[in-house]
């Protein structure tokens, strides 16, 4: 009876979990930035968490909840260790690029060669414009330097 009533909720939540997992899969397959790849992996874990909690609710069992708590724990450990490796990789190559480590690839796989891209300055980042209010603060000479890093 319980299962019958919670079936639509189960299906909707599983769909959300499947969407998050698929988006994370696409992200980890296609992005080159190590940190964005890592965010995509965390997103796959989020999809799994949603699905586990949905099943837990469906069956009235605590197993899914407990498993999600362990997923959180392991994700925290994984993030700590992996970010250290990302920092090491960055300090060795000066780039957060996964293709910077393509010397580790199989002998049969071809080399990734970037196409010619327009200069970086050709695509300026767009910042929000805010309505001016109050007193104009004194100009901050560090601001352009910090904006470059966004």
């Amino acid at each position: 009876m319980n299962a019958m009533q919670s079936l639509p909720m189960l299906q909707n939540a599983l769909t959300v979990g499947a969407l998050l997992f698929s988006l994370g899969l696409v992200g980890i397959l296609t992005r080159r930035n190590l940190i964005v790849m890592f965010l995509a992996a965390e997103m796959m874990l989020q999809g799994i968490s949603v699905s586990l909690v949905a099943w837990s609710r469906h069956h009235g069992d605590w197993g899914g909840h407990v498993l999600v708590i362990f997923v959180l724990t392991v994700a925290a450990c994984e993030a700590a260790v992996a970010l250290v490796f990302v920092l090491q990789a960055f300090s060795r190559t000066g780039r957060l690029d996964a293709a910077a480590w393509q010397s580790l690839r199989e002998a049969t796989v071809g080399r990734t060669v970037d196409r010619e891209l327009p200069a970086i300055d050709a695509v300026p980042p767009r910042f929000p414009t805010l309505t001016r209010a109050g007193v104009l603060p004194p100009p901050d000479e560090n601001e352009p330097l910090q904006r470059e890093h966004v």
Partner: protein, 267 residues
């Protein structure tokens, strides 16, 4: 309500939605120069795909619950898509934080109060801040070339569409009856069978058997049946902490020796 009487139309809408989602991702993923036309078309296709998923979603009981679930799941999914298509990794991290808020909302709607709050605290509060610290330490000035291209966006979007299609198909075929081979040893159902001599259980218990005294019972389960696993997780956290510190120290030592001896190759 029973899936057996559903017309074949929802399957068609869902298949179209999956394909539209894949095409939208393919158009939106960073791929060389920024083209406003393909971005607009990708956004439109993404909205179409979301609409297909919303239309084919199962109706929940109450309108309020349905609206809340729809809003939080849309926030989660749209922010997740924006995470993987945004060119700047800082924006990706911030979109991911918004996606976490949506996921926490979905968990709350599903009745997982502790996990909803824990997701915000642990993920958005700790892990994501760590990501932003690393980005601050390691982000080169300006938009890096490798953030503006993708590895095989078409094949990746296709792989995602295949996975999503298979998952949606199997989700749509779920039925209320337990699998024939093995009845699940659900304690809630066992309790209902033991207590239920013709008496229907209370309405609240039917809606969510885990709702009453939620956090206390979750803690009891965690530190009762899963105590050994909790201890192992504690050891794992400690090992990860010490390992991270060790790797940082060793990397710095290697860097210093490489600086002192430039002839030696680093890799």
């Amino acid at each position: 309500m029973t899936p057996a009487f559903d017309p074949p139309l929802p399957g068609t809408i869902l298949a179209g939605g999956v394909l539209a989602a894949a095409a939208s991702l393919w158009l939106l993923l960073p791929n060389g120069p920024d083209r406003a036309g393909s971005r607009r078309l990708g956004t439109l296709l993404g909205l179409l795909a979301l609409g297909a998923f919303v239309v084919t979603g199962r109706r929940l009981g109450g309108l309020g619950e349905e609206a809340v679930f729809l809003i939080v799941s849309l926030v989660a999914v749209v922010a997740a898509a924006a995470t993987i298509v945004s060119r700047s990794p800082v924006y990706a991290a911030i979109w991911f934080a918004l996606s976490l808020v949506g996921v926490a909302g979905v968990l709350l709607v599903l009745g997982a109060q502790f996990l909803g709050v824990a997701t915000i605290v642990v993920y958005a509060g700790a892990i994501l801040v760590m990501f932003l610290f690393v980005l601050m330490l390691a982000q080169p000035a300006g938009l890096a070339p490798y953030d503006r291209v993708s590895n095989e966006p078409f094949l990746s979007a296709l792989a995602g569409a295949v996975l999503l299609g298979v998952l949606s198909l199997s989700i749509g075929r779920l039925s209320a009856s337990p699998p024939a081979c093995c009845g699940l040893p659900s304690r809630a159902r066992a309790g209902a069978d033991a207590a239920g001599t013709g008496q229907p259980p209370p309405a609240a218990a039917v809606a969510d058997p885990l709702a009453e005294n939620h956090v206390a019972r979750l803690g009891g389960e965690l530190f009762g049946r899963h105590l050994i696993a909790v201890e192992a997780a504690g050891v794992l956290l400690l090992v990860a902490l010490i390992g991270a510190i060790a790797v940082v120290g060793r990397g710095e030592a290697a860097q210093a020796s490489a600086d002192a001896d430039p002839g030696r190759p680093l890799r």
